[in-house]
């Protein structure tokens, strides 16, 4: 029964972005992965490949001379022959491929080393270029004392070294340094401002000290160093290759590499801009959203030239910064462009990573590429969930404390990731090499493959993001303290990674299949793609791994319901706000009946299955004696019983879900998870009752088929369901009255 609530407004306090783990580390990870992938690509293009080509020629002659089983026309023979020849080819080329990967890894290590060296030298260069000298207390004793006081107030572990350039008239400050040794440099103009307008001086200092407190310096200067190293260690060698060597295909590569350079630079700048907003907000802690911080940002230098020019700037526009201080909500959301950067890195890096790991382990990896595929998916899942997942958690918190902030749809995020992934893949190494050739013109082929893939990718991403949202919304309501939030968020993001690894792996597998199918022409591509996705889905239905994933995804959400509702205290959820005020209380009690409804509906489903299935099974056993049954009869009978169970679970899910509503997907899958094992038991016991056996493997396969099939059927419509499920009458988490 739904409780009645007073329709109170949202909390006027500003949400505290520092209450949640920052996504900067993951964004920096994205940059590093993008740079490494692009570097790998560039060195693969420019390194001499004469030795590799010779090896391939030699290996080809060995393959042709192989006395393996000669194909006689049967599929089995052809497969055996192909396998033997592939083994000979792989063994022959393994050493050369590993050597090549070794050279490329050396190049990567070189670029990484260059980045480290630049990072170490940057503070020295920055100090020299700025003309900074140490500020001794006798220079300006009041200023030194004030800086030390502000540093202590900012909660820094150690005070920064104070530098200044007395002859620089601008009223500005900057922080730099490396490995915890930070330096705060002031201009002469700012020091003069201390005596004229100390509030302005303090505001500028608070912003700079906030950078130190937020841990920005190392990340920022590493970001800068990584970019310079990429430019000098990868882009420059490519340019030299273009100028001096006769690589006929270098010109074809130019646009891809130019695109990579732009992409890396834009990711770098987005990392840098994000840190400024966080520093502004922390600097405004003391005097609030309408204080001096907001005022002086209005006086700060404006990057002229419109939005295009601002894309290249390392600071957000003053108007944007003022808006963020006044309303910190923008730090709780993920934009289409942020999601696009994530997708782009994934699309770019996955093929390169898979290829590198695959070639590096050639001759050792007997998994047929599963290890390289899985490792690439694992690494990129960490980044995707780190950036997108943490943003979704923050956004979910915002919607819980202010229902008006709930996004109209999560589709822009899914579309952003997809658009980025498609673009990244087009720029990647694998897209530049058309090994198989195609009946289609290159552009038409790209358009068809990318379109088909984009549809599948968008639906998959939307499902994943919605799951993360549901997990966040569920667990945030059970996390009234900063400590419980940290635990819940860590567990939620780890669970999301568990789901994300097979998802990313599956998406790129689908892509490979679609690309393969594209060799047959436009219509065949779509047809084969649909067939491949359909058959692939059927193949994975019987795997226990899928059952495990469904259990993880559902179990994690259900587990939150087992945690008691937090007590009403003064401290509850106060961590989520910058300003002090009362604690919050969870005023929504709509989920108390969720378990009961799911269990009842599932039991009804099992009963319906029993009533329908028993007469059918009895008739079949009576009409078709054991001796008269062919293998096809038995398989058809088995498939029909499983299909019946899956369909009834779909009905159960629809009955539980009703017209949608909150946690519709969770309720649907929960119903399937309860009904599935029940129906499997009925099926197996009926088989036993009519004289069949009960093999453990058969039982496991049956349970997997029924549970997986039912859960997937229940989830099938979820990405298309309405989001949000309807406006609430007010925030779920509301200030205590």
């Amino acid at each position: 029964m739904r409780r009645q609530h007073a329709d109170a407004g949202p909390d006027p306090r500003r949400p505290d972005p520092f209450a949640f783990p920052s996504d900067t580390d993951f964004r920096f990870g994205l940059l590093v992965v993008a740079v490494l992938s692009a570097t790998f690509f560039i060195y693969d293009v420019i390194l001499p490949n004469g030795a590799l080509v010779s090896t391939y020629r030699l290996c080809l002659s060995q393959v042709l001379a192989t006395n393996g089983p000669q194909p006689t026309g049967s599929l089995g023979d052809i497969a055996a022959s192909g396998s033997a020849r592939a083994q000979v080819l792989n063994s022959c080329r393994a050493r050369a491929e590993r050597s090549r990967v070794g050279e490329e890894l050396l190049a990567l290590i070189g670029v990484a080393g260059l980045a480290g060296a630049i990072y170490a030298v940057l503070p020295v260069w920055r100090r020299r270029r700025g003309g900074y000298v140490d500020m001794v207390p006798s220079d300006a004793p009041e200023v030194v004392a004030e800086v030390e006081r502000l540093a202590d107030t900012a909660g820094l572990r150690s005070r920064p070294r104070i530098l200044w350039n007395p002859l620089n008239g601008s009223a500005a400050a900057i922080v730099f340094g490396a490995l915890g040794r930070y330096q705060l440099a002031l201009s002469g103009g700012l020091v003069i401002r201390f005596y004229e307008d100390p509030e302005v001086f303090r505001a500028v200092l608070r912003h700079e000290l906030a950078h130190i407190r937020n841990g920005d310096i190392d990340k920022t200067y590493l970001t800068v160093a990584v970019w310079y190293a990429f430019a000098a260690g990868a882009l420059l060698p490519f340019g030299v290759s273009m100028a001096f060597f006769d690589h006929s295909f270098l010109a074809d590569m130019f646009w891809r590499i130019a695109g990579l350079g732009v992409v890396v630079y834009l990711i770098r700048n987005s990392v840098l801009r994000a840190r400024e907003s966080y520093a502004d907000v922390r600097a405004s802690f003391e005097d609030g959203p309408a204080g001096i911080m907001s005022r002086i940002i209005g006086q700060s230098a404006v990057v002229r030239g419109g939005s295009w020019r601002r894309l290249w700037a390392v600071h957000p526009s003053p108007a944007e910064r003022q808006r963020t201080i006044t309303d910190t909500a923008s730090l709780f959301r993920l934009t289409f462009w942020d999601a696009g950067a994530v997708g782009l890195t994934i699309g770019l890096a996955f093929p390169n990573l898979e290829l590198t790991i695959g070639l590096g382990t050639l001759g050792f990896d007997r998994s047929g590429g599963v290890i390289s595929h899985g490792l690439a998916a694992l690494l990129l899942s960490v980044l995707l969930v780190g950036v997108v997942g943490s943003a979704v958690w923050r956004s979910a918190f915002l919607s819980l404390i202010d229902d008006r902030r709930r996004p109209a749809s999560l589709l822009p995020i899914a579309l952003g990731v997809t658009a980025g992934a498609v673009l990244g893949h087009v720029l990647s190494f694998s897209s530049s090499v058309d090994v198989l050739g195609s009946a289609l013109p290159s552009l038409a082929r790209i358009a068809i493959v990318e379109s088909v893939w984009a549809v599948v990718f968008t639906l998959g991403t939307l499902g994943l993001v919605r799951w993360i949202w549901a997990a966040a919304e569920t667990w945030l309501r059970r996390a009234p303290t900063a400590r419980s939030l940290g635990r819940a968020m860590t567990a939620g993001l780890v669970a999301a990674m568990v789901l994300c690894v097979p998802w990313i792996g599956a998406m790129f597998l689908v892509r490979d299949l679609v690309e393969f199918a594209a060799n047959g022409g436009a219509l065949a591509t779509v047809g084969i793609a649909v067939a491949v996705v359909g058959l692939g889905s059927l193949a994975v239905l019987a795997t226990p791994a899928l059952t495990m994933l469904i259990c993880v995804s559902t179990g994690f959400l259900v587990a939150a319901r087992l945690v008691p509702r937090p007590a009403v205290t003064d401290e509850a959820w106060r961590y989520g706000f910058i300003e002090n005020g009362p604690g919050l209380q969870d005023r929504d009690g709509t989920q108390s009946s969720m378990f009961r409804r799911a269990i009842v509906a599932a039991l009804i489903g099992v009963a319906i299955y029993t009533v329908v299935m028993l007469p059918a099974a009895a008739s079949w056993h009576l009409l078709k004696p054991r001796a008269a049954r062919s293998d096809t009869d038995v398989i058809t009978y088995y498939v029909m019983l499983v299909a019946l169970a899956v369909l009834i679970q779909g009905y159960v899910a629809a009955a539980i879900t009703g017209g949608g509503g909150r946690f519709a997907g969770l309720r649907a899958v929960l119903g399937a998870l309860i009904a599935g094992p029940g129906m499997s038991a009925v099926l197996l016991l009926t088989n036993l009752a009519f004289g069949g056996g009960l093999d453990a493997g058969f039982a496991l396969q049956t349970v997997c088929l029924v549970v997986n099939g039912g859960a997937l059927l229940a989830l099938l419509a979820l990405p298309l369901a309405r989001f949000p499920p309807g406006r609430r009458s007010g925030p779920v988490l509301q200030a205590q009255t």
């Binding site: 620089n168 601008s170 900057i174 020091v191 005596y195 310096i217 400024e276 700060s300 230098a301 390392v314």
Partner: protein, 162 residues
């Protein structure tokens, strides 16, 4: 020794001028003048505004007056010395230098050096014009350049008429 004395006198005169031209810099005159003498060219070099990583500041760069005043006074003193040398003939250099030092000392403390020959009207006009142009060249605003030139002439003429 003579150079050190001249240097000190220029500093002292500049400090007294800063009080009227840029009073907000008086407290920082010591380190600002030290920075000027470390690299006089840097004091007058134009700076390009950059979108610095992790940097933050308000409004466009202002001009710090202290190094400009030091530069203007130094230039004027050098010019005066050259003019007096030209007028004094043999042994003129030493005489001229002593004369200028005496002028500057009187500007600092009129009681200390009561009888020093003063600058003529024409010379004072020339000093004003030169100081104003030099200050403008170093990007000091028109009003402050005029203020500096007037204050400098005032100091030197006060010493002349004492």
């Amino acid at each position: 020794m003579a150079d050190d004395t001249l240097h000190d006198l220029i500093r002292d005169l500049s400090r007294s001028l800063i009080v009227s031209v840029a009073p907000e810099e008086v407290r920082l005159f010591g380190p600002l003048s030290a920075a000027y003498y470390r690299d006089p060219a840097a004091a007058t070099r134009a700076r390009k505004e950059r979108d610095e990583v992790l940097g933050f500041g308000v409004e466009a760069a202002a001009v710090i007056a202290t190094p400009i005043v030091l530069s203007v006074v130094t230039d004027v003193v050098r010019h005066l010395t050259q003019r007096l040398v030209a007028d004094a003939g043999e042994h003129g250099a030493q005489v001229a230098e002593r004369g200028v030092q005496a002028l500057l000392q009187r500007a600092r403390s009129p009681e200390a050096v009561p009888s020093v020959p003063g600058l003529t009207e024409a010379q004072l006009r020339e000093v004003r014009e030169r100081a104003y142009e030099k200050a403008r060249e170093l990007r000091l605003s028109d009003a402050r350049s005029a203020l500096l030139a007037d204050a400098l002439v005032g100091s030197l003429s006060a010493s002349s008429t004492a």
